[in-house]
Symmetry: C2
Subunit: 581 residues, 2 copies
Amino acid sequence: MDSDFGIPRELSPLQQLRSQYQPELPPCLQGTTVRVELGDGTTVAEATDSHIMARAFPHTLGQPLAHFLRETAKVSDAHIITELPSVRVGIVFCGRQAPGGHNVIWGLYEALKVHNANSTLLGFLGGSEGLFAQKTLEITDDVLQTYKNQGGYDLLGRTKDQIRTTEQVNAALKACTDLKLDGLVIIGGVISNTDAAHLAEFFAEAKCSTKVVGVPVTTNGDLKNQFVEANVGFDTICKVNSQLISNACTDALSAEKYYYFIRLMGRKHSHVALECTLQSHPNMVILGEEVAASKLTIFDISKQICDAVQARAGQDKNHGVILIPEGIIESIPEVYALLKEIHGHLRQGVAADKISTQLSPWSSALFEFLPPFIKKQLLLHPESDDSAQLSQIETEKLLAYLVETEMNKRLKEGTYKGKKFNAICHFFGYQARGSLPSKFDCDYAYAMMTVKHWSQNASSTSTSIGRPAIHPAMVDLKGKAYDLLRQNAQKFLMEDLYRNPGPLQYDGPGADAKAVSLCVEDQDYMGRIKKLQEYLDQVRTIVKPGCSQDVLKAALSVMASVTDVLTTISSSSTVGGQQFA
Amino acid sequence: MDSDFGIPRELSPLQQLRSQYQPELPPCLQGTTVRVELGDGTTVAEATDSHIMARAFPHTLGQPLAHFLRETAKVSDAHIITELPSVRVGIVFCGRQAPGGHNVIWGLYEALKVHNANSTLLGFLGGSEGLFAQKTLEITDDVLQTYKNQGGYDLLGRTKDQIRTTEQVNAALKACTDLKLDGLVIIGGVISNTDAAHLAEFFAEAKCSTKVVGVPVTTNGDLKNQFVEANVGFDTICKVNSQLISNACTDALSAEKYYYFIRLMGRKHSHVALECTLQSHPNMVILGEEVAASKLTIFDISKQICDAVQARAGQDKNHGVILIPEGIIESIPEVYALLKEIHGHLRQGVAADKISTQLSPWSSALFEFLPPFIKKQLLLHPESDDSAQLSQIETEKLLAYLVETEMNKRLKEGTYKGKKFNAICHFFGYQARGSLPSKFDCDYAYAMMTVKHWSQNASSTSTSIGRPAIHPAMVDLKGKAYDLLRQNAQKFLMEDLYRNPGPLQYDGPGADAKAVSLCVEDQDYMGRIKKLQEYLDQVRTIVKPGCSQDVLKAALSVMASVTDVLTTISSSSTVGGQQFA
């Protein structure tokens, strides 16, 4: 099975050119000297979870944030490390492949070697299974040759996503001990980074000296927080999909007779769909977060699309492009309830063809109403994270079917006077995951490697039952990216302002383009934390022992109300944040 | 409906750069002087059809071929035209959009203006419907600004494909007369160029002075012959699809658990699938022409795939990528027979849900065996060219279903010992048609405009009933491109020699790549015709009156046998050529 891993690949001319590309490193990671400033210990995202988190992560919670500094930075208490011992590090791909994964390995390899030429990097073959079985390939420059800046995970492969059961974590511990690893790097998404956080705690508890590092590589873009602004792979996926969406827009505008219903891969949340909308301006997108927030039923959504089709027909427009994130199906309340019932029965061992007779009356009514192809897909076993098999459920076909039925009804009743409604359905997912990574992802992945231990500190929030897990970040309906969409939604819907970013380029216009949602969001969270600390320091300096009674009195009064206000805001934002949890 | 045609579009940075690109013209089309050599009158492709063709095209058949010459060419009887009168030309998009269509308009506009600034180019809005209704937009440099080198047909739009009925050809005649057109340019594929040929004859018969010109623009690549080596749009489509196929290959190799069944748009024949295979090296492709030639049943094809899956599993490979041309479904003998029966009933007005009871026993048995989703798709009304709605028939899902069933059976019986077979199905079509055109298509389309009247001379061959039509060219199973595939098929199947040409580039490696099937085929048909004429001229010079009896005797004897041999070959190739007609 692993016979093909790491073998040299035949590269096309473009791939050869890309393999020559040297990613850019940020100034703080250049050179052989490491300059680190250790900041405050981190807090948990939700104040109410702090005791659960403290219990789950007694060894690893609350460690200080490490800031890497550029050579010119003047920080008095920075640790300056010029000589590093040789280390042995293992690296493993977990979970779904994302463009840029290979560059994480290459970047780590170069970083290890530049600091100590005797350091060793071992790749585990075949994902977590290879970790458990201790199947390794030593990474060398020769091995990397035809994988630099290339897509896929085929250098090492991947199999299962999980490092979770007692058997699995023990096998991982044994592998790290047997192989004398100083570090274990896990490349993956939300699930794999949750596993990495727990594994780090488990290793610390077991007094294993291997440090566990999670690297956020996922096309879904849902593994982000104050410290992680983007995931490796998201930029490429959105560019490849936007190209195809734009092509469909141009096609729709040329033929003037089709509505394209395009479902996008991206798991539970709608980051990919939002970003692609901002890049290519299709007529409509329905975000899972909007559906959940407004508790829209499947009929509400279908009616919303029908009304849009009717409004456009009123302007003699009988074509359009509508984006459907794959996760939307779980955001629709009544479908979600149905899925939970089905999954419950499946887990109890009920055969799929017997389930329809055991549903609650409400779910049964919905189920019986659905067309056969969707019934079959809803009956599939859930994934390892308990979500439905989103990539297998053709929500775009279901919506196209409902819209067509309704438009035909309106046509018959005379309330709709436009042309016959025609839908073409597409699912864009697998054809983008293996893409050559964009320049952004090449650079970002290559530089990723020194972000250590972030996973077990920052973004973990508790689940109500079971062990704490990293929640996938949802699209922030109060955020700037969503706001940009809302401002333009009506124009996109009616005016066909289609924008074609074109195929992914490596030179010229667009080659250095960043994700729109990344550019509009507030970037400098850490900068603003620093600014706040400066204010606090200034107050401290002014109100030193010896200051006047008036100054002290004013300071006390002001700070009391500041504390009050912040306490109130903190607890209410916690409630708000749980709204869709 | 036409309110949006020709309005300026907002262009992305890459689109803006592309809009600045000036396509290259071949030397013979550069400058303001036109140099033409009129060659022999053309013959029909099939000797046996000559009387049918002569009857159908009394005015337009057998016209001389026009060769355009570069300035430096020394041809004694070349016509040299330095001044051209101002002309009025109409242009219309017919049939499915293909990347590069806009450049045909731009190239024609520039060519008309360079020869006479007073010439006028009128675009018909909304395809043939716009032609009949005389809805025009005068093409100007302003109008073209945001459409140069851009994809789609949205500058003028298109609606119906047909210019065929008496009413339609009369409306076209009236439009050309009313608008005082010297020329009418029809941009389209096989069907539209057949219509163009008949329209030219109809106009000639009616003594209408408008010359009709067909331009071969089709993504299918099936409108080719000795004079037309490629179609505008084919290069782009194959590059966009090859990128996505390669991404799926990389994905398959990374996950090692899926077989991708990818259906490709391309109508009846398998040119797109063949070219994409040569570009991206998937494990397997099944060409419609192979299926027809070997009379493979649906079960033969399914078994062929199953055996491949089993052989790969024997090497611990549980993944793969298989290409399925959309036209394959009509190449399978028993399915074709079923489709013909269904279409016959549909044409007689039988309701779709009643047809299954009226099928012949053999067709009925096949139909009942098929899964419901395919049944529904086979019952769709045929297209205007009598073929099935190929884009709507999910042949890839049918094959994946049959293969899965068979693999599960083999697994149960113990004859297959590999992992459980998993298929993921895709259809690549609509998402490529609207793409930004490749450099090749930009240049080719821009230069296309002076190929006049080819359509009604060369590639028309008769149909057995009804009017003569251009047959779409099929993949030549004796050609070099197919031979290249056969030589590599076993290696592609077993060794995962996936090749990723990457996203369509406009600069650097790959930007100037031509289609593999174009590069390996004999290119210089006209050059070889010229060479033959030189030989004949030499014989004529040697055997002039006054030559010796011996020379004359030898020449007569040799030429008698040459003529014999060529006559025999000609008639047998005609029979061979009709094999799949």
